[in-house]
Symmetry: D3
Subunit: 245 residues, 6 copies
Amino acid sequence: MAKPTILVVSGHAADFCSRSGGTIAKYVREGCRVQIIALTFGERGESAYYWAQNPNSTIEAAKVQRKKEALAAAEVLGAEIDFCDYDDHPLIMTGERITELAMRIQDIRPDIVLTHWHHDPVNVDHGVTSSVVIRALSCASVPGLQPGVKPHPLPDVFFFESSVPHTEFNEFRIDTYVDITETQAIKLEALSKFTSQPFLAEWYTKYAEHRGHQAGNWTQRTIKYAEGFKRYTPYVGSFFPLSER
Amino acid sequence: MAKPTILVVSGHAADFCSRSGGTIAKYVREGCRVQIIALTFGERGESAYYWAQNPNSTIEAAKVQRKKEALAAAEVLGAEIDFCDYDDHPLIMTGERITELAMRIQDIRPDIVLTHWHHDPVNVDHGVTSSVVIRALSCASVPGLQPGVKPHPLPDVFFFESSVPHTEFNEFRIDTYVDITETQAIKLEALSKFTSQPFLAEWYTKYAEHRGHQAGNWTQRTIKYAEGFKRYTPYVGSFFPLSER
Amino acid sequence: MAKPTILVVSGHAADFCSRSGGTIAKYVREGCRVQIIALTFGERGESAYYWAQNPNSTIEAAKVQRKKEALAAAEVLGAEIDFCDYDDHPLIMTGERITELAMRIQDIRPDIVLTHWHHDPVNVDHGVTSSVVIRALSCASVPGLQPGVKPHPLPDVFFFESSVPHTEFNEFRIDTYVDITETQAIKLEALSKFTSQPFLAEWYTKYAEHRGHQAGNWTQRTIKYAEGFKRYTPYVGSFFPLSER
Amino acid sequence: MAKPTILVVSGHAADFCSRSGGTIAKYVREGCRVQIIALTFGERGESAYYWAQNPNSTIEAAKVQRKKEALAAAEVLGAEIDFCDYDDHPLIMTGERITELAMRIQDIRPDIVLTHWHHDPVNVDHGVTSSVVIRALSCASVPGLQPGVKPHPLPDVFFFESSVPHTEFNEFRIDTYVDITETQAIKLEALSKFTSQPFLAEWYTKYAEHRGHQAGNWTQRTIKYAEGFKRYTPYVGSFFPLSER
Amino acid sequence: MAKPTILVVSGHAADFCSRSGGTIAKYVREGCRVQIIALTFGERGESAYYWAQNPNSTIEAAKVQRKKEALAAAEVLGAEIDFCDYDDHPLIMTGERITELAMRIQDIRPDIVLTHWHHDPVNVDHGVTSSVVIRALSCASVPGLQPGVKPHPLPDVFFFESSVPHTEFNEFRIDTYVDITETQAIKLEALSKFTSQPFLAEWYTKYAEHRGHQAGNWTQRTIKYAEGFKRYTPYVGSFFPLSER
Amino acid sequence: MAKPTILVVSGHAADFCSRSGGTIAKYVREGCRVQIIALTFGERGESAYYWAQNPNSTIEAAKVQRKKEALAAAEVLGAEIDFCDYDDHPLIMTGERITELAMRIQDIRPDIVLTHWHHDPVNVDHGVTSSVVIRALSCASVPGLQPGVKPHPLPDVFFFESSVPHTEFNEFRIDTYVDITETQAIKLEALSKFTSQPFLAEWYTKYAEHRGHQAGNWTQRTIKYAEGFKRYTPYVGSFFPLSER
């Protein structure tokens, strides 16, 4: 089988990295193409430290800073990143924006899509991103979206971690753990690029340890760091996918 | 009691027929008025064969073709059909469109409303249609929508089949089966009018047999073809509605 | 169609009457056979007034009193009643008891079964009754329960009201209302026989009014008294069962 | 601790009063500030009597009347009220409106937020209000909504009663009862100001009795009138909050 | 990795074959050990044809016949089978029986466990089997069940198809499809051994086609026959398990 | 109000301490009576280290050891503890045992009951304990359980943490956090008494930090250690219970 192409749709500029940076780095190491689409720069919601340091700055300046950070982080991971600049808090997705996203999907033709878990009342943009990705995938799968362009059937879709630390409140229920022990260092380096959110490394290391603890408990072996996901589309294959023990 | 009036709200041009064509034909035979409203022509999502045959066609031409097909199918069933031409994939319902639909409901004054099941991630337009019909019914039931026009209280609402074959994925849970054995032939004739979707007859015959098998299993008799629905509004009556055995 | 036979399985001695007495009386008026099975006398849980009046009484004496009351109530309604005497609070259903109940079902051959809603943490016996009725119906539907006795396929099953006034806490969700205005007086007379529970008439009149209010609101007409039920098995028929407006 | 500030977001002009008027009056008596925001005047959906009396009136005239009523009711309760005039049935919330509401939240800085339960198919505006309040709270909690303005973290949020009498249909599940016996008279006086909805006093007295009955049943004491709520955000404290018995 | 050992726990004599016979045969072909445990012979519930042909037979004679059939079917599949003879309809699992099952698990040490979906009101024994397998796995994972015997941590657990044709009623939601096209012929031969249930081949061929249709629809390729499962324990691995396209 | 009495029902010997030890110590400090009932000694499931050290020991000897540990831990917390010795893995609750527990409840007359969350497939005894406590509370609330003994109405019930680290898998959703920073040291000392489970201190410190992090995030202040609970019975009071900020 050809190496899979991965599309990661991130509501804000840093979500792709904090939730799935370790997994992205693993696929990149395998030689896969990973394309990230950030719907917004997270200029309002994700930039606490930036605003603390620059209380008189502007939204536009914040966007410039966030873009710089996200580009650097993606580069560390070895992934490409595009920005939609749709404005966050609240992220509003119109029909035109859904269509744009659907056309991007038809262009990228991903085998795997990663995006947010759909329920996240603490950070509603995340849930909006999730449902709009499903909607865009649905649109990308039909023949008349772009007559003459081949429709792209639904790939394997996985949802990543909702707003930490409120994962139980958000009813996030993991059924797939990826062991990221070997790429955790790369992920940390990528996270360090988000200077507007200096706490990311600590928080998400704690979460990666927590998920590693859970994953290791299921398989009775030591897993230092893991990322947790919820599979959305069914698995179809010749045999059951068995956990590595 | 007077013969009930039935309103069927269909997200795309063919949904009404594939999901409830047999039931529609039965009510028409009883002398009931059946009014169909198609929110879109399904020009993008439902016209796979059309686009395969006419790769250089336009959306407008596809709409013309779809309208012709849907009109022919409605005629076979004996129902009227109106088209909103709202564009599909994605179907976007604005406040104005909801109000238009609510006013149509106040005009038609249906005793029964049929529409899509609300959860259909494979075809998100279906879920949008479902929730917008509930919303329009809510608006149609209030006195100030059109001052001077009598509000129309919520009728008996039933949801029809979600995207086949993924009915379990869509969590569609039938609680009402209508035996369509006697009108299955008419339904097939109506389905044959959708030349842009030549597979409809085969797929929905299979599903009608499947639903018939289930319905027959519950009642311990042979039911060759059935359509399955989920009741939404409560039943109110003098006695329990009992299955026919 | 022949007149339907109704089986009502009541966890305690009075449940059948307080939750479905009005409906029972209606079916009896139509000439139907209604058979009640009370799994316990409710001697511990349902006899507050009895114990207040007879603090030094015994469980056996309480059972005698409860049986007298339930017999009188059933007679008022025009239904037959049998008692299993399984002891309440906690009601424990063994394999033998499930089999006994299944054999009774094969003997009665009901077209309609009424029993408790399955979730009732305030009165757990109710939930036990509900799940055990489903289990006994499952057993009664198989050929080898009593070789030589015809199995009885699942009839139309409806759950009645859970512990009042905590119906929302118990997640009871009505989808079927029966208008009992014409038999409310008979129901009240039957309830008056339960002298160990003198508050029944007041509570359940209030609830019948509440349910009537809801039922009337759905159908835009005045329904003075109603009983609310949740349908369990699907409806199968030639047309939709429509609310009476 | 300083006295808490309460924000009540009401979909229509009278919702705040019918669902939480007794609770509002209690907090006002304690010296708390209670600020109400009515997203619409309920000119279409809530003004049945007005339209019956003034069949030839206009939407604008209805709004004037509704505003007068709501102002009078708020004054009786001792609360302030602002109106957004967003039009009801259907209430449509754009990104701009969400941002406005979020800015109001940052300005008011509430310790408690009361709004609608999120599921209310009979009156969809209610559910829209609920989800939009959560979204606005999410936006109000981020640093970049209004650079230079302190973000407001999520307060304690409670949902009030959905459309009566269909609370079970709407899956409203109360976990918090407030005893309003002492302010029921004030609430009734406030409700009497809504002359376009003369039935409010009777309906909501019945519901306050019903909720009082439930609350009293849980605590084994007489509670004449209560209002029921569903807590949304978790409780955090030094000990468990214990019911008053 | 060593070849996985598979344990299949079947409520009745034929369940293992009708729901997972194709998958079993595939694992056997790969050289895996597959051990089946049948809790009962299904002598009451699964032997309709037997009782029709032998109306005067006994439960014991039915068991003998069923055992013969199940042994023959297991042999065709290439799997071992043991019988607990616990009596069906109703299947009652005591503490002793749970412990016995847990000890068998510690003995077999499976990497994969297949058993029933947990919700199956039409055939309650199935749900009992499901929950009791989870309970036995929990017991088998602790050190003191059999001091001196190594506990067996939870393996990868998958639930197979609930009672057909009522899979939507039973809320069975597949997330894992196994393509059994290459072993469908073996499965059919195995099913033919159950002469007490001559309809199995037809019903389960239809279901395997239905599941194949769904699986093929997800992966856009032709899958003639498939079996559907619901994963229970999370997947833990180095990468996502991707569908075969 | 008199100081509340707390009853903690623990499936195994150490559950009360690991999940609610900090909260227990706080109530004890306030002068409250805290009574623990341990249904089993956890001799099979909770004693991994004991069995590793004493591979040739017996169940009886393990029980003696576990009892010693639990007594010492309860003493550190300042609580009383009783043991039912019902045997764990699997814990089987008969009607007699439920009645015994109900009689103990009528004797203790708790204002607060703490027990397990109801869903815990990794450790099914926990869920059994939870449901049986609800059942015993239901039995304890009726007049005829022990004629002459005053029934005890349902107190405020809270569920504590399910099997860590699988709290999301177990769908445990916290709505009440108790800050245990001031008693964490006592809890640790108590946990140290469970020498058969030497890992408890580390695991539950990590969890108390995690819950503290969540609780602090909701209230925007530093909470070093917390325990998380799910309220079961509704809160009834004069005002809303507000989080301490």
